[in-house]
Symmetry: C2
Subunit: 389 residues, 2 copies
Amino acid sequence: MTMPKGPQAFPRAEYLRRLALVKAKMEQREVTSLLITSPADITYLCGYTAKSAYIPQGLVISLKDEEPTFLTRRMDAPAAVHQTFMERDRVIGYPEALIADPDKDGFDALINFLRDDGLGGGRLALENNLLSAKLIDRFQAGAPGTKLADFSNEVPWIRLVKSDLEIEMMLEAAAITDAGMLTGKEVMRPGVREADAAAEIIATLVRGVNGKVGTDLRRVFICASPRSGTAHIIWTEDVFRQGSQINLEMGGVRHGYVSALMRTYSIGKPSDRLRRVHDAEVAGMEAALSAVKPGATCGDVAVAFNTTLKKHGLEKESRCGYAIGIDWTEPTASLREDDHTVLQPNMTFHLMLGNWIDEDFGYVISETFRVTESGAETFSALPREIFEI
Amino acid sequence: MTMPKGPQAFPRAEYLRRLALVKAKMEQREVTSLLITSPADITYLCGYTAKSAYIPQGLVISLKDEEPTFLTRRMDAPAAVHQTFMERDRVIGYPEALIADPDKDGFDALINFLRDDGLGGGRLALENNLLSAKLIDRFQAGAPGTKLADFSNEVPWIRLVKSDLEIEMMLEAAAITDAGMLTGKEVMRPGVREADAAAEIIATLVRGVNGKVGTDLRRVFICASPRSGTAHIIWTEDVFRQGSQINLEMGGVRHGYVSALMRTYSIGKPSDRLRRVHDAEVAGMEAALSAVKPGATCGDVAVAFNTTLKKHGLEKESRCGYAIGIDWTEPTASLREDDHTVLQPNMTFHLMLGNWIDEDFGYVISETFRVTESGAETFSALPREIFEI
């Protein structure tokens, strides 16, 4: 019996559109064959989201073929048949004996496939930043006489500008994020263990909203007093107390796409210090969002934020955001003063204004937004408040 | 104000014991200074579990110092002060300006630190398998005149044999895993969405049991008809149906340590084919566990399993297990016929008997176990049954 195709997150035409952008870049770089190994790039170009990236796998794109070919271990080939948009013969499962063999691995299957495919008649590109030098040497040996090209971050730069279909997916994810944040407001109470609150919040992120389930789960950060000065503790065995401050960061997921959000919660009346920081950061956020428009740069947005924050007597050491989409943190544009990336419609960013001011005191607020024809559209419907409990 | 130390998962003596093993290996390899970049190795050697490994960070171990030094971005230093066993001056936060700078990054801070530290007076070792060639060249430039050593997988091999304290932690994790599996039995019903069941199962894994919360979350795989032939789909938007088969794999987590488990569920009477496969696999599992004893090899266990399975007219293409601990899949010993690793007391393995027989039909069962003085001790209290719903 064969595995049926599952429901597709995007129509075939959307994947072909993305592939056309990648192929244009391949032509420009004079490569005929491209091996994609970044899990996010693989999701972007064929729809595969199963969790097998801890073993060698790769998506081969050839200028001579309309569809790419995905090679993964045999165990995961049925998932790829089910999830990807390609014809089933475009999924190849390599033998399980290659897993944990000290002498060879799944990259040998990829190298052999590329060789048999004749490298599409020319030159091979790899995402070098994700591969060891030893591995690149093996690909070179498999492609004798050709000079390999480095395609590091080329696909993430293409991913930076979303299609309307991708924006729709991120809006669905954002609605889930909002629901998770509101669950937090309900369940975080004095005497409740952080883990018990995390369980409820995460359950909301998985159940989803409006008939759209959360299709995956990313990190949920619950940094509560005395840990409000930390950024990346997920939760602890501790309980919330009267007077606790809680910094939440989370993101719902739809078919690989995440929409992130941060809000600060206070059990009881927020301190004057917390209110002052909040007011400054919200003013900075408004200034940053006002600076967003096609033609402005990432740096312009950061300058608007930093200038406003300084007027309020505060500074933020870390960058104030980054591109977001399939990866929570896309490895391309940053909202920092020296980033000259020019904003275009449908670029999406996480305007991340977490500010860890003292070792034991931090504040968080953020918005995920897209660049529109005339400004910025934020994805969350939640107020920019300190959530009082 | 300063960040207080959090409650420690292990006593200081346990970390010093682990460090002593690593330092002995350093002496044997004639290195004086070691940079650890594997997140699991960092957790093992200092107790840090916050999620910052997507940026450069590293734990420096020097023969001349009792305690290691952890360098991470400034934003994450308070979490490290809170979580690790070391004195607070052993945590160094590098400037946030190094994040997303195109010209330099946090590894420059690490290189400068190592240089100022004089490499402990001699030679530096790196976990090369986790670093790009370009990065290794940068460390070489920072340590002129010295020949770098490759410490790839040295620490994971030390991690393979657990202490009694680590076993205790894995048993706590296993109790959480069992609770998650039993939640699955309660909530998977005809008409229920897979995501809704996932939400309840995951909430159980986070809440934990016996007053011990789940301190982290790893993947939960829910591969239900028509996807029982897949191994690594987490869940879908589909609903369970009368007659559905569901393959579950999950693992509770305690302070970094995971204990994994797989069971097959059937809504309604299992098919004869499923029962036959189950009987064969359970016989194979018993044979494999009977082959476990100090002095036997990983290969002996795999041979016992494969031989028994074949007697029942079945084969399993993939390896039948792997070392487990902080990583779900430790990169060291495998239960495959050609792995000659000699079993020692307190090595821990996931005896992973998932068998994806056809594209649309697979079966799963597993046990996480430790090697004892005389045999094997499995961590789960659940029966080796097809769970009928």
